[in-house]
Symmetry: C2
Subunit: 634 residues, 2 copies
């Protein structure tokens, strides 16, 4: 397989990026100081870590769960990222301790999985559809790569390389090898990371093998069940309408046209497809990604960037089916959406990918964590009757460590670069160290984003340098203006796929001022979204707003918003640590003149009141109450 | 127990009532000619009837189901009613044949149940919570009474009396008897019927015992499970939030304040409570019924008279929770609502009970059957995306025979009488033979109801007679006027609980003309019904209307109805056999100017079109398509 060079970009690694803002830095700090230690503690006290000692015996409770390896792996990944940006010798030592335990669990042949070593060792590789065996391997590989890149230590990397080498002996195109792939995609993108970290092409080939096999007929999983009998989740899975769609094995990936099935599986699969497209130049994968991207973002995505409408199979239903109260919109799926869009953005620097990434990040991803970093949403509905709240932990606890690893590595999503361009995708105060055309450049951002849209970029260079600075014009920005060193720059002829491209000889202390006016927007859903008919949502900049019981009279569903109401945005420093709220006059149906009957022939009367809307991500951080995003427009 | 006489009314039995109209007579004919024979055939070919031969042996498929006895019993009941109004010697003989088979299955001690005789005989009376054993007994008893009253033959009545006597030996207040009751109420109301048919007070006492025991602590079902282990539906029931509420054993019935749990169970329970209140004069039961009635009808009933919002436990959720697309609104539950309101109406002649009965009957009950009588809805949603259709039969096939027995005995719901009053509850063309104050009276109704509200009542008497004629003024009628023999009668001072009471010396050929203007009404739901916020439904007379894809452009959820639109009602003889349709101008959101994005900042534009609405009961009788009842009001 030849490594094809394409004129595209690489993310600037988070180790070269500093975040020094009001919005994210505090979250990252809480993640480091509270969330990551808390998750270690939960992994420890629930037996997930000690399970690597392999001393479980039949009869002991709890029985190690098939997911456990991945929870610990995601914790290692998050902790490693955190260590890379803010060194902590205790955490470093703790990581080595846990890694030592994991290494000790590796079998002589390289195999490494708790459940299939101590609970059902005879079933190794017999239930790829249900048992998450390669999925757990994928997370261990991601952890190994993350730990290596954070510390340059090879103690976990070597372990996962041995495991990947063993997997490469079991699976592959050669006749004696299994032609299977995992029911839950994950190892595919992990193997690309391992390839990038080690340069070993066999890992890229193995990833491509898994992607190419997926969905071929006869279906591997159906054959597997014929041969090996019911899977681990047989009973649950038998209630699903279409199990092949559930795990995206219904068609070869290049023929898939609609997003189907379990939404996290879909995001990890498409992320790997984008990775492979980038590494191998396989345009058939790029085209499949683009097709699936259109279907997802134009017919199946909540305004919060949440995806997957139904709890039943944690996934997609049908185009335009976006119920609010029962929205599943799993935190991990929104994170997966960030992963995938980030990869698409490196393939093709189109602002639509950054828009989607930003939408998810500022709304449906961070809604997953309480402001104090202590509680989590697994699902993220867009309306609540008041009985839905974050929890500290879950039996299947994929979301909390997934959030942690995202936050701890957030810096990587802000910038990309290639040999000619420095690209700013997200506006977050801080700095980045770039290396363009043999020259070191420091790019500093000063902004109060997302509370306003004024961004100052300053460059530090030892000598002047010719390159293009690309600044994203977000999709939500109807107008944008740029000044360079105080002088207006006419952006009209310099827009490329929603980025303004400023190519010139840059010199030290050059300043670029980007102004993105941030009015309150009334947003409407496509008429085919029946759940939002005649409703409006409020958005300002990248933030989607909601009404919460803490600020507004319940029941909230009795509220409507006249189309003519004047809306104000105001920063309130006492509100939940400081945020911009939206206020204005709304109407509220009143049942005071209603005689108690359930139905009558005169409509309810409505009275005006002053409503307050807060950013969606911040809901459920005060007293329990109702919440709505979509408001009927009167 | 003393039989207390109360000044209330008795239904005029359907054997004394003739239905000769355009709306119902045809349905009753189809029920007789097609539905009842078809249901026999299904009971026969699925093994339900031959199962009474008790020749099932372990290993034979299908295993008799615990519900089977009740399906056959409801068929006997329906067939008996049909026989009573329209004699058919073949049906009479067929009934005797089936009854002979049932009689042959009765055990020497009187016990009679297929499942617990051939499949698990050792488990008799050990799973009252789940196994429907007393429920099946109740339906057999109802069948026995119906067959006796239709034919005056005692062949089934004697069988069920022996069975009831045996049950009376097993259950009761005496120390050696079981203190249990059925998880599915039904036998309670059946025993009151048996008491009324036989005059044997022990049946009334046994019914009262079951009602009084229900909900006492310690809970019988919890004790039963401790003693006997998991029930027949343990796995399903373990997924319910509150199993004691599910089967209404959470509190003694007199303390129950809210409708909870499985809605058919609730209706049968409350019906029995009303029966007992009437027979025993127990006001505590009347008060409990009135409280539950208020909660159900003012907070938990669809506009169609459908009840039970969720498929999960086939029942009630919480006040004002009335989702449309996912409405369960089981046909049997709407029928149960008719049963209960009919009983309440005999306790207290208040039009509110007749209004509820009529609402269910003309909407959520008959929607359960296709116009050709061949297909059935189990659940009756108030909105459909086009993939919901009636079926010929169900594995658990309670609804089709329940509809059949209701239609075959429809005459009993039209009139009541006591010694001083002839009461007309429903306006259906035909006649009734009354016996008031020792005099025979024939009351004839001439009307085109429900298509218009003009009703002519003519009396035939041999001699003049003093009594009161009470005519119901439906809740939907804003105005009503009465003429007696062509002269205006001022009704204002003669209204009693929504009935106009005309007391006078009536003579032969006296005519009363009641005019109920029937404009199209726009109906609004209580503001707490969040699913219908800003929506309107159309109703004309007792009929709720809907929009269907066959008449209107899909997607229907893109339609809204301006508050100012002028609406027309017109009888269309070519429409589904002839019915009044509603037409007018509505708006339809158009996506022709929508650029494919899922969200945008300008609202969709709407274009006017001429809509057609048809009565809700008649939907899904043409090509498959969408349907909505509640329309956003623009």
């Amino acid at each position: 397989m030849k490594h094809v060079m394409r004129k595209n970009a690489e993310p600037v690694p988070f180790t070269r990026v500093k975040i020094e803002d009001q919005f994210w830095a505090n979250r990252i700090q809480i993640n480091k100081e509270h969330t990551i230690p808390f998750q270690y503690q939960k992994c420890k006290e629930t037996g997930r870590i000690d399970a690597f000692k392999l001393d479980w015996k039949s009869g002991i409770e709890p029985v190690p769960h098939i997911f456990w390896d991945s929870d610990v792996a995601k914790w290692i990944e998050a902790a490693s990222y955190s260590l890379a940006t803010c060194y902590d010798p205790k955490l470093d030592a703790l990581l080595d301790e846990v890694i030592g335990l994991i290494a000790s669990a590796q079998q002589p042949d390289g195999y490494l999985n708790i459940y299939f070593t101590v609970v059902e060792p005879e079933k190794r590789w017999t239930d790829l559809r249900d048992a998450h065996e390669l999925y757990c391997a994928g997370h261990l590989i991601e952890a190994g790569v993350a730990h290596y890149e954070a510390t340059r230590k090879r103690n976990l990397l070597d372990v996962v390389c041995r495991y990947a080498d063993y997997i490469n002996e079991v699976f592959g195109p050669e006749e004696h090898k299994k032609k299977g792939y995992c029911g839950h995609p994950e190892i595919e993108l992990a193997l690309v990371k391992l390839y990038r970290a080690t340069g070993e092409e066999r890992y890229l080939s193995l990833s491509k093998f898994f992607i190419d096999e997926r969905g071929k007929e006869p279906n591997y999983f159906e054959e597997e069940k014929k041969k090996n009998g019911p899977g681990y989740f047989e009973e649950l899975f038998s209630t699903f309408d279409n199990l092949k769609e559930y795990n995206q094995s219904h068609k070869p990936v290049r023929e898939q046209e609609r997003v189907v099935g379990h939404s996290v599986r879909a995001m990890y699969l498409y992320s790997a497809m984008a990775d492979l497209a980038k590494e191998t130049g396989d345009d058939s994968l790029t085209r499949a990604c683009e097709r699936l991207w259109e279907n997802l973002h134009k017919k199946n995505m909540y305004i919060t960037g949440g995806i997957g409408s139904t709890a039943k199979h944690e996934g997609f239903t049908f185009d335009y089916d976006l119920p609010n109260e029962t929205a599943y919109a799993e935190t991990c799926a929104a994170i997966g959406l960030v992963f995938w869009n980030h990869r698409m953005l490196q393939l093709d620097c189109d602002g639509k990918y950054a828009d989607a990434l930003e939408r998810a990040l500022y709304n449906g991803v961070i809604s997953g964590m309480s402001l104090d970093g202590k509680k989590f949403f697994y699902d993220n509905p867009l309306a609540s009757l008041g009985d839905f709240h974050r929890k500290e932990w879950f039996d299947v606890s994929c979301c909390p460590p997934n959030l942690s690893r995202l936050l701890a590595s957030l810096g990587q999503y802000i910038y990309s670069q290639n040999d000619e361009e420095a690209i700013v995708h997200l506006y977050i105060q801080g700095s980045a160290r770039l290396h363009i055309g043999q020259k070191d450049i420091i790019l500093k951002q000063k902004t109060n984003y997302p509370w306003d849209g004024n961004i100052f970029v300053e460059l530090e260079l030892e000598q002047p340098a010719m390159f293009a600075l690309k600044l994203r014009i977000p999709g939500w920005a109807r107008e944008a203006s740029v000044k360079i060193n105080g002088e207006t720059f006419d952006i009209a002829h310099h827009i490329e796929k929603r980025y303004v491209r400023i190519e010139r000889q840059w010199k030290n202390k050059d300043q670029v001022e980007l102004v993105l006016p941030m009015p309150i927007e009334r947003v409407y859903a496509h008429p085919n979204v029946r759940q939002n008919r005649n409703c409006v949502a409020l958005q300002r900049g990248p933030l989607v707003y909601c009404l919460e019981g803490a600020d507004n009279p319940e029941p909230l569903y009795a509220i409507s918003l006249p189309r003519t109401s004047i809306l104000q945005a105001q920063f309130d420093e006492r509100l939940l640590g400081g945020m911009v709220k939206i206020t204005g006059q709304a109407l509220r149906c009143d049942d005071s003149d209603w005689d108690g009957e359930l139905y009558r022939t005169t409509p309810p009367t409505a009275k005006p009141f002053e409503f307050t809307a807060i950013p969606y991500y911040a809901w459920d951080n005060r007293q329990p109450g109702q919440m709505i995003v979509w408001i009927p427009e009167a």
